[in-house]
């Protein structure tokens, strides 16, 4: 055991003193994690509101009021023109959406305010919605939100009879002045508005008068409590399972994987380096076997991998990254399982990489980059197309990222952690066994 530990310490010392090796094991992963986390954070990673541009072409009191409603909507973030004292018009808004600046724009065309005043006749208020074709999900949501806020104004009107009477009077005036309305329609609507006006005159007394023993109707519900559709929220209590709190919760696990791969590659080619430089001969002249040499490398790789992973996790918890693991024990389990897996991969690289360092590096980078591409080490799993997600299951990188994310933010239970960790450990053990068997048959001199 002393010999194995001594060889592991030797390899760790060599890794730290090799600047390039140390950079790829620790520096590069950190750069990856910070860079990609920052990029996605700057794109509003933590804000789930839909960004839109609002173009008010009508510039009426009605349109201004509607713009205010949209600006106050909790689901939307109205984006202003980046230039000082400039405002978007439809053309510039269209271009901005086309370039991917925001998912959509809403244009309020001329006549919007007037149309809003004309109840039950005329073309009705219109909005123009321009959506980035690649943001289909947002399109549906925006249509619903615009309809919601459009009706909200109408609903609020119904809540106040005085406002409603004003609208009715305005509508009657427009009706009488509009030459395009057919006479039969004009007569029916004229009578309707008259009846409605009388209704609204009587309504305040009816809604405010309380019957004996009956509570007064809720004024906020409007017109004696009537609403076209009343939505009551039912409370659903769910275990606090959320997505990543910020973009760094995604980028740091990816960075950890790059660190782990750097360690695996560094140790993987070290056997070829030792053979080339003659130090392997020195090791094997000692009263130890090939398996001791391999065990020393495996132990060194394991320690390096766990250290890099824990260091990156610790860094991710500090400002400005502020990643808060939801379960430290599960995160540690993921780190250990990942380390076992990549030690096994290192073993395979060490014995199948050939006698030369160059051959080992070539094979190592080829294999690891492929695993990273397929497994979510470059493109996050959630943005992959379905066919690629189904292929990713063969990559240990996928399981490693998944297990670390499960400890960091996916709120996994210990039972749920078993599957990815078992897969990782199995890969590691198989790799070690195959590597050890091959090394025993290899000639050293």
């Amino acid at each position: 055991m002393g010999a194995i530990l001594a060889m592991a310490v030797k390899d760790l010392r060599l890794l730290v003193r090799d600047r390039m090796g140390a950079f790829f094991a620790f520096g590069f992963p950190l750069v990856m994690a910070v860079l990609f986390g920052t990029i996605f954070t700057d794109r509003g990673g933590d804000d789930s509101r839909i960004e839109i541009i609002v173009v008010d072409e009508d510039r009426s009191a009605g349109s201004a009021e509607f713009v205010k409603v949209l600006e106050g909507a909790s689901e939307l973030r109205v984006v202003r023109h980046p230039g000082e004292k400039q405002a978007f018009d439809r053309a510039s808004a269209t271009e901005f959406v086309r370039r991917g600046g925001v998912p959509a724009f809403v244009a309020i065309p001329k006549g919007f305010g007037e149309s809003r005043e004309s109840m039950f006749f005329g073309a009705g208020a219109k909005l123009v919605l321009g959506v980035d074709p690649s943001r289909k999900a947002e399109q549906g949501m925006l249509e619903g939100l615009l309809t919601k806020y459009g009706f909200l104004q109408l609903q609020q009107s119904f809540q106040d009879p005085a406002i409603m009477r004003g609208r009715v009077k305005s509508s009657m005036d427009r009706l009488r002045a509009d030459p395009d309305v057919p006479d039969p329609t004009r007569r029916v609507l004229d009578q309707f508005f008259g009846d409605l006006d009388r209704f609204l005159v009587d309504l305040p007394e009816a809604t405010t008068a309380a019957g004996e023993g009956k509570p007064a109707p809720d004024r906020d519900s409007g017109m004696g409590g009537f609403q076209p559709i009343a939505i009551e929220k039912a409370e659903i209590v769910k275990p606090a399972r959320g997505g990543p709190k910020n973009a760094y919760a995604i980028s740091f696990p990816q960075g950890i994987i790059w660190g782990v791969m750097g360690c695996a590659l560094g140790f993987g080619i070290s056997l070829a380096q030792e053979r080339t430089k003659g130090t392997l001969m020195r090791l094997l002249v000692a009263p130890i076997g090939n398996s001791h040499v391999l065990a020393g490398k495996a132990l060194g790789c394991f320690i390096a991998t766990v250290s890099v992973s824990l260091a990156l996790i610790a860094l991710s918890m500090a400002p400005p990254f502020n990643v808060r693991p939801t379960s430290l024990p599960l995160t540690l389990a993921a780190v250990l399982a990942t380390a076992v897996c990549f030690v096994g991969i290192m073993m395979l690289l060490a014995v199948f990489g050939g006698a030369s360092e160059r051959g080992g590096q070539g094979l190592g980078w080829g294999v690891l980059l492929l695993l990273a591409m397929v497994g979510g080490g470059m493109i996050p799993l959630f943005v992959m197309p379905d066919w690629m997600k189904s292929i990713s299951v063969v990559s240990p990188v996928r399981w490693a990222i998944l297990s670390i994310e499960m400890g960091l933010w996916r709120d996994a239970t210990p039972i749920e952690m078993i599957k990815p960790c078992a897969i990782l450990v199995s890969i590691g053990l198989i790799g070690f066994a195959v590597g050890a068997a091959k090394l025993r048959r290899m000639s050293i001199a």
Binding site: G2, A3, K10, R13, T279, M281, R282, L284, I288
Partner: protein
């Protein structure tokens, strides 16, 4: 101490060692002399258990083959290539190698200091091996073989690429180690080293053992006769000339010619291991 019996090793179509048998006595310096590619290193590698012979046996001190890890604990080897970690200090290198022999960290450090002093490197123990000169690296390479106080030392071309001063230092150290009771197997392609150091020399070429004896014995049996050269100046109108005579008794031959008129210069070339090799193979050792 070490017995090699009918050893044979091939690498593809190349026969590196061909039916080699010899035994090495305790407390002596045994030399393998031969040109590059003669099979010396392969023989050494089989003797220390790194390479499995195709046939034949190696027995170390009656304990069996050094392919067995436990048997190797009594062997120390300094390979031809400098087997050191350049990014580790001399001390770190030696402590690592000592730990491989089962020493505790404290014992490893003590032994490392001892061998560094023995090889004259104690004042540079904290420097990385990569910063050493060639001669210093060779000495450190040798020091690593001494850590566990082995009974048998195998030194494969320990002075290759080394300056004359470092070479003398290494040769003196080897003699000291022999005087301390160790058995040393020394491979070299330098005739002078073999002649200077070795109690017995095995001459090897193309994997075969050509001759085995003490240096004097080899010269007497295979070296041929001495050559006495006498140069005469022009006398009585004659031309200057040089007479060369092969003789078993150069002193007598020389005495008889010194009184002749016109002797300007005399030279005696005694046979050496170079001439032994030439006699045995028809080639010069330096070819």
């Amino acid at each position: 101490m070490l017995r090699l019996t009918h050893l044979r090793k091939t690498f593809g179509r190349i026969v590196a060692v061909d039916d080699l048998s010899l035994s090495i006595e305790r407390g002596s310096i045994f030399g393998f002399l031969g040109p590059n590619g003669a099979g010396k290193s392969t023989t050494i590698n089989m003797a220390i258990g790194l390479v499995k012979p195709d046939s034949g046996t190696v027995d170390f001190d009656g304990n069996g083959s050094p392919m067995n890890a436990e048997v190797r604990s009594g062997l120390g080897a300094a390979p031809q290539s400098i087997a050191l970690y350049d990014d580790l200090t001399a001390m770190e290198n030696l402590v690592l190698f000592a730990r491989l022999y089962g020493m505790s960290r404290a014992d490893a450090r003590r032994r490392a200091v001892h061998v560094l002093e023995l090889t004259g490197l104690a004042d540079r123990k904290g420097d990385r091996a990569g910063g050493y000169s060639g001669g210093m690296k060779r000495r450190l390479n040798l020091a690593a073989a001494l850590l566990h106080d082995p009974k048998l030392l195998l030194l494969d071309e320990p002075t290759a690429g080394v300056d004359p001063q470092s070479r003398n230092s290494i040769l003196d150290l080897v003699r000291t180690l022999r005087d301390q009771g160790r058995t040393i197997v020394y491979t070299t392609h330098y005739m002078e080293e073999a002649a200077r150091l070795c109690d017995r020399v095995a001459i090897i070429d193309h994997g075969k053992l050509l001759a085995l004896d003490s240096v004097d014995g080899l010269i007497a049996r295979h070296g041929g006769r001495s050559t006495v050269s006498v140069t005469y100046g022009a006398v009585d109108g004659g031309d200057a000339r040089t007479d060369r005579v092969q003789t078993d008794n150069p002193v007598a031959e020389l005495s008889g010619r010194l009184n002749a008129p016109g002797v300007q210069a005399v030279r005696v070339d005694r046979p050496d291991l170079e001439s032994v090799f030439l006699h045995l193979t028809g080639r010069s050792l330096r070819d």
